[in-house]
């Protein structure tokens, strides 16, 4: 393994951008999992990837196209009531077919499409870092306000209607935040690398966390640990980053799953 490569300034920006994303996406993933909407993240990631490629086709930055693609999906999901596995399945198919058709019919589209699928973190620059900082700032600012409303709406779903409260506002707010997070993750870490960060750390944290605050911290910690390990392995062994990140997430998740007691045992008073 070539250790000197880790000191190369070329990788500082990608490392910092990915690190921020690896801390935020698992927290969003925990909320998506609690809302039983984790599959929506895969739909949004496909829309983001397709948006990135369509953006490039018309001369817009990939990050802008990815954000618009995912935010459009998030808005339709929230305002149009497009929820549930069927809607997310359609989002995946729309994103996937658009992504591959755009890749096949635009100049350099094939290479960019492959990069989005592979997750070429090392090409991330100031745009990706700025987007990751913005995402982190939005999450840190918005989640403490949204979280109580989202949890209450999840466990006491009649509350907002009964009290004539505008519940749609916090659902839309979270949907857009999740869509932006997935878009930034997809444009920086690749489609399935971002999805792995949404799904696996939250899944593992749900199995072992003793409470909600622990769930959020554990998910973030597992995400960051998986990211650091993947960064070292992918760079040192010259592997594509996205699949390496997904593999490390799966290994960590599998280990936690094997060592933990499943969260079943209802009635075990």
């Amino acid at each position: 393994m070539n250790w000197e490569i880790y000191a190369d300034p070329l990788f500082r920006l990608p490392f910092a951008a990915g690190l921020l994303i690896a801390g935020v996406l698992p927290v969003l993933g925990a909320l998506l999992m609690l809302r039983e909407e984790w599959l929506a993240a895969l739909g949004l990631a496909h829309l983001a990837a397709a948006g990135a490629l369509l953006g490039l086709a018309v001369g817009a930055p990939a990050m802008l196209g990815a954000s618009l693609g995912a935010l459009g999906g998030g808005a339709v999901k929230s305002l149009g009531g497009a929820r549930g596995n069927t809607a997310y399945g359609f989002m995946i198919l729309i994103g996937w077919s658009t992504l591959l058709l755009a890749a096949a019919n635009t100049s350099a589209g094939d290479a960019v499409g492959q990069a989005v699928m592979d997750g070429q973190l090392y090409f991330a620059g100031w745009t990706e870092l700025a987007a990751a900082v913005l995402l982190t700032g939005l999450a840190v600012t918005a989640l403490p306000r949204l979280m109580p409303q989202l949890l209450r709406a999840r466990f006491f779903p009649r509350h907002d209607t009964a009290n004539r409260l505008p519940g749609w506002r916090w659902h839309l707010g979270f949907d857009l935040l999740a869509a932006f997070g997935v878009a930034v993750g997809t444009a920086t870490l690749g489609l399935l690398g971002a999805f792995a960060l949404v799904l696996v750390p939250a899944w593992a944290a749900f199995r072992i966390a003793p409470g909600w605050a622990w769930t959020l911290w554990l998910a973030g910690f597992i995400g960051v640990a998986a990211y650091l390990a993947a960064f070292v392995l992918a760079l040192g062994l010259d592997q594509p980053f996205g699949p390496t990140l997904a593999a490390v997430c799966l290994a960590l998740g599998g280990l936690i799953g094997a060592l933990s007691r499943p969260a079943q045992g209802r009635g075990g008073a």
Binding site: L34, F155, R158, A162, G211, W212, R266, A269
Partner: protein, 198 residues
């Protein structure tokens, strides 16, 4: 009616006919005052839950009117509490979701479950925790739909104990509208019982 806001009803129903695609229940008239624990009894299909839904703006009102006291806050605990495959929240987390003050301890054995994950509680324990979440917060009108479902006699006694607890603050006005098909339970815990005839 006098000018004392404390004496004004929290909720007044006037000849309410409610349902969804078609009327299910009514016409019904009644009022609920602070301090009431009003029981609503009826056979299956008599429209008890529909009436609660109408009060909570979740069903259609075909005729009549429902008047709420200005700024009335509600807590609606549905017949089946939301139960997910994995819920990594403690009982305390759940109460925090319902804005229950941290210092309010549930009576009886329920307090032993506050630091356990709610997906590791039995159905009855979880149901009672949800009822406590409804009663211990600041809601002025608490709607409970069939809270005795799936409860064994011991948990039913604990439910009666929960219903007897005072509001969060001494000056708070609170009323409970409790739907059940168990007439004996309603008679034992309610200040009044209304019967819905299909």
């Amino acid at each position: 009616m006098n000018g004392n806001p404390a004496a004004a009803p929290l909720l007044r129903l006037e000849q309410v006919v409610a349902g969804y695609a078609a009327p299910v229940v009514g016409p019904i008239s009644c009022s609920i005052q602070a301090g009431d624990v009003l029981g609503l009894w009826g056979t299956n299909g008599s429209g008890k839950s529909t009436l609660l839904n109408a009060i909570a703006d979740a069903a259609r009102i075909f005729s009549g009117r429902i008047e709420r006291a200005p700024g009335l806050t509600l807590f609606y605990q549905e017949q089946r509490p939301v139960r997910l495959p994995a819920m990594p929240l403690t009982g305390r987390d759940l109460l925090r979701c319902a804005a229950v003050p941290a210092h309010r301890q549930p009576p009886g054995s329920l307090s032993h479950h506050l630091d356990r994950r709610i997906d590791r509680l039995s159905g009855g324990q979880y149901q009672l925790l949800c009822v406590w979440a409804a009663l211990a917060g600041s809601a002025e009108l608490v709607l409970l739909d069939e809270p005795t479902n799936n409860l064994d006699p011991e948990h039913e006694r604990l439910l009666a104990l929960l219903l007897a607890q005072p509001p969060a603050h001494r000056d708070d006005r609170r009323a409970v509208l409790l739907v059940s098909h168990e007439r004996a339970f309603l008679e034992s815990v309610c200040s009044r019982v209304l019967e819905l005839i299909q």
